[in-house]
Symmetry: C2
């Protein structure tokens, strides 16, 4: 991933849980736990379109992905990103998570739920530790 | 802590690392890893006053604390808070972290660095898992 130093790049390749923070309708940060995947040149997150974070990025495309090294909690990677939204009507993108995470993020979706892909472009990268 | 259901309350008592997200000067969420402490009736975080997150909450007192259960990453606690800032000139507040975390968050501060206390009042609580 462009702009992510080698010292922290493997945090993007491991099957970790990150925190994605978006801006709520009232300006308050909203945070949720997400899986993420480097898909070709893109850093991506799969989201249900009935979720608050999806509505948030539709309104304000700024989101920050934050990863803590689970073996060393002072080693962190913060990616302040602009989000591009792509539809995922067949969950073909969600299925790409299976080799890394053992299941697609859509595995527990109720029937009829739609998914979208958030493509995260880091505008500012902060590493610690 | 008020408004935090019993199902997730112990996530506030254990010595975990949370993610604190604030709003940067350009409106982008900023996230960092923090220790946190229930101090009497207050949920508190200790911050260096030379840090971006301190400047962020001076300007916009909305911050969100997010905790992931380290034994079950789908179990999460999101506290969307308003922040009150108190000075901590003698690091007396930072010292209160030692029994829980084994050290004060000020242990690695360069000489001359000042600390403040962020007192987090949850306005909205979201639990998952």
């Amino acid at each position: 991933m462009r702009d992510v130093p080698d010292s922290h790049a493997e945090l993007l390749r491991e099957p970790l849980t990150a925190v994605l923070s978006t801006i709520g309708p009232d300006g308050q940060p909203q945070s949720t736990a997400v899986w993420y995947l480097v898909d070709g040149m893109d850093l991506t997150v799969s989201v249900r379109t009935d979720r608050q974070k999806y509505r948030n990025v539709l309104r304000d495309p700024r989101a920050t992905l934050f990863v803590i090294d689970p073996t060393n909690s002072v080693r962190t990677l913060e990616l302040r990103c602009v989000v591009e939204i792509r539809d995922d009507p067949t969950t073909a993108h969600a299925a790409k998570f299976t080799p890394t995470y053992g299941a697609p993020p859509s595995a527990w979706d109720p029937e009829g739920i739609e998914r979208a892909v958030l493509v995260l472009t880091p505008m500012h990268v902060v590493t610690l530790g």
